[in-house]
């Protein structure tokens, strides 16, 4: 029956190829342009000479003389260090966030606990607190625990800030999984933890990937905490490093090198997203229930 469904889905568009697919492609084109145009402008800027960047009229299709690699070479090999720092902090904070968030979300979705709604309410309320305003209190904690200039000073807050979102999203996914699956697993002899690891988690991969990507990107791009908690140059993350890129004067904003740094700093992220978006595949629970 499932096979029948799939083939049906393939033949379906053919019948209405005209109206439906035209609307779809118009939508796709609009979306791609909307999302990419400003980013591509940034890419173009990263290759333009300083003169071409501020030339009037605006240069959309630069000639060879308007193009340069200088902005990239000016970043220097040291920039990879910042990329590494960002990757490390983002990866660990994402793992921590998912590692703590998924069990918590499962518990809140399926295990009845006294005070459960209070906990849930607390998580909701905490998520409303503008995170920028946490920095002063956190600074004191960081200082007190002696975490200054330690990756943990970034990893822990990033995880915590993403935790409410992770918990709520995963919880709603756990709730949507058929309950029979868990009952079946219990009958088979899975303990709660094993069941979470072997059955529930594999089935919520789309949600895990989704929240994971969101958390990872947040950590990758966060600025204020990264600026405040880490001052040692070797441990700075990309956004802070970009803020340190200098022009010929303190007043000048060096658009070219900043654009280049953005491109270099975002490419790893894109590769990651490109790789993981396949995991957000349709119908991972198909076949679990019903004929």
């Amino acid at each position: 029956m499932a096979i029948a469904q799939e083939t049906k889905a393939h033949t379906h568009p053919k019948m209405k190829i005209s109206s439906r697919s035209i609307v779809l492609w118009v939508g796709v084109v609009f979306m791609v342009v909307f999302c990419l145009a400003p980013a591509l402008w940034q890419v173009l800027t990263s290759f333009k000479t300083n003169a071409a960047i501020s030339a009037l009229p605006t240069i959309y299709f630069p000639s060879f003389s308007d193009l340069t690699w200088d902005h990239y070479t000016s970043l220097g090999a040291g920039f990879w260090r910042y990329v590494f720092n960002s990757a490390l902090v983002s990866l660990l904070s994402t793992l921590l966030c998912l590692g703590l968030g998924a069990p918590a979300a499962y518990t809140l979705a399926r295990i009845k606990l006294p005070g459960e709604s209070l906990i849930l309410g607390g998580i909701l309320i905490v998520s409303l607190f503008p995170y920028v305003l946490l920095f002063l209190g956190l600074l004191e904690i960081v200082k007190f625990v002696g975490l200054g200039n330690n990756y943990l000073a970034l990893i822990v807050p990033y995880s915590a800030i993403n935790l409410p979102l992770t918990i709520l999203v995963l919880r709603s996914f756990f709730q949507q999984l058929p309950r029979d699956l868990e009952d079946s697993a219990k009958m088979d002899g899975y303990s709660t933890v094993q069941m979470l690891l072997k059955i529930m988690i594999p089935l919520t991969i789309p949600a895990l990937v989704t929240t994971g990507i969101l958390a990872f990107i947040f950590a990758w791009n966060e600025f204020i905490f990264a600026l405040t908690f880490v001052t040692r140059d070797a441990m700075k993350t990309i956004p802070v490093a970009v803020a340190q890129i200098g022009g010929s004067s303190v007043y000048e904003i060096p658009y070219g090198p900043i654009a280049a740094a953005t491109v270099v700093g975002t490419l790893p992220l894109l590769v990651l997203v490109l790789f993981f978006q396949r995991r957000i595949v349709q119908g991972i629970t198909a076949g679990a229930v019903k004929g």
Binding site: P38, I119, L120, V132, L270, V273
Partner: protein, 302 residues
């Protein structure tokens, strides 16, 4: 008592699974929030040599008369309301598109995530440059249309500056909503649509009657978090307008950040934090109440 042994065991494991996350949340959130509530009852600024002096509710009294705070609150509300509305509509459209199967979907999905992936601080600069009245791309494109005023000072006019901020924010965060909704769409079984289509429903009807209700948990979560993020907007405004012109784009976060970090007025800053936080909670509670009136479960349950 033996009757509940299994339940007790299950609950014990539940607490074990839940506690680490709660500890982390407490560790990061409890102290700063509690500290704000505590400090808001003290005067601690340059006038007191940065020593806390108990002053009761005087900070709150001062806050009520602080036009700048209420103006920034209004600015933030306008910004939040307009941008979230646009993001939700666009994000839903994006999610529906990305949920279709077509050639190159992987690339399109990735490109749809790109705005979210680019650092806000940097893209704020880029947007400021795009909206620049002399060199900006926006004016350059507009000037190619006849009858358009050229050299519009986007960031120099209160309304237009707000508009520019909203455009930049919508661009930046629509992917956030889109990907959350997309993940939600993935969990809606295909056969529901087929059953509905067999019943003779138009696509619009099945959207309203199948997609929307089943997507409610994700929509509510996305809205909630965008609301919180948007209300706390900081770096984008800081970089693009710095709160100007004439404070027309100053948001609450910007004001509080300045009060605490630049004016060193800690007690008053804490009072600002507390009031903002409480107002946000009230707004969400109210929204939740209205939603539950509309028989939608906020927490995502059934």
């Amino acid at each position: 008592m033996t009757q509940d042994l299994i339940r007790q065991r299950e609950q014990r494991i539940g607490w074990l699974l839940l506690t680490p996350a709660l500890i982390l949340l407490l560790f990061v959130f409890a102290y700063p929030i509690g500290r704000a509530f505590f400090l808001s009852l003290f005067t601690e600024n340059l006038g007191t040599q940065l020593q806390p002096i108990f002053s009761g509710l005087s900070n709150y009294h001062r806050l009520i008369e602080d036009g700048r705070f209420w103006e920034s609150l209004w600015n933030t509300s306008v910004f939040t309301g307009v941008s979230i509305f646009c993001e939700l509509v666009l994000g839903m459209v994006f999610a529906l598109i990305l949920n279709q199967s077509f050639r190159g979907r992987g690339l399109v999905r990735t490109s749809a995530l790109l705005p979210w992936a680019l650092p806000t601080a940097v893209m704020g600069l880029a947007w400021a440059w795009i909206f620049n009245d002399q060199y900006g791309v926006v004016n350059d494109i507009l000037s190619r249309f006849p009858f358009w005023e050229t050299n519009i000072t986007w960031l120099g006019d209160p309304t237009r500056a707000m508009l520019a901020l909203i455009v930049a924010d919508v661009w930046k965060t629509t992917p956030f909503i889109a990907i959350l909704l997309l993940a939600g769409l993935q969990s809606i079984p295909e056969d529901l649509y087929e059953a509905h289509a067999i019943d003779g429903a138009t696509p619009w009807q099945s959207f309203c009657q199948v997609t929307l209700p089943l997507l409610t948990p994700q929509i509510v979560i996305a809205l909630l978090f965008r609301f919180a993020q948007s209300f706390g907007i900081f770096d984008l405004v800081q970089v693009m307008t710095g709160g100007g012109p004439a404070g027309a784009t100053e948001t609450v976060s910007i004001y509080i950040y300045a009060t605490v970090r630049r004016y060193l007025d800690f007690g008053y800053g804490a009072a600002l934090v507390v009031v903002t936080f409480v107002l946000l909670i009230l707004a969400v509670v109210l929204a939740g109440f209205l939603l539950s009136k509309a028989r939608i479960n906020v927490s995502g349950g059934r």
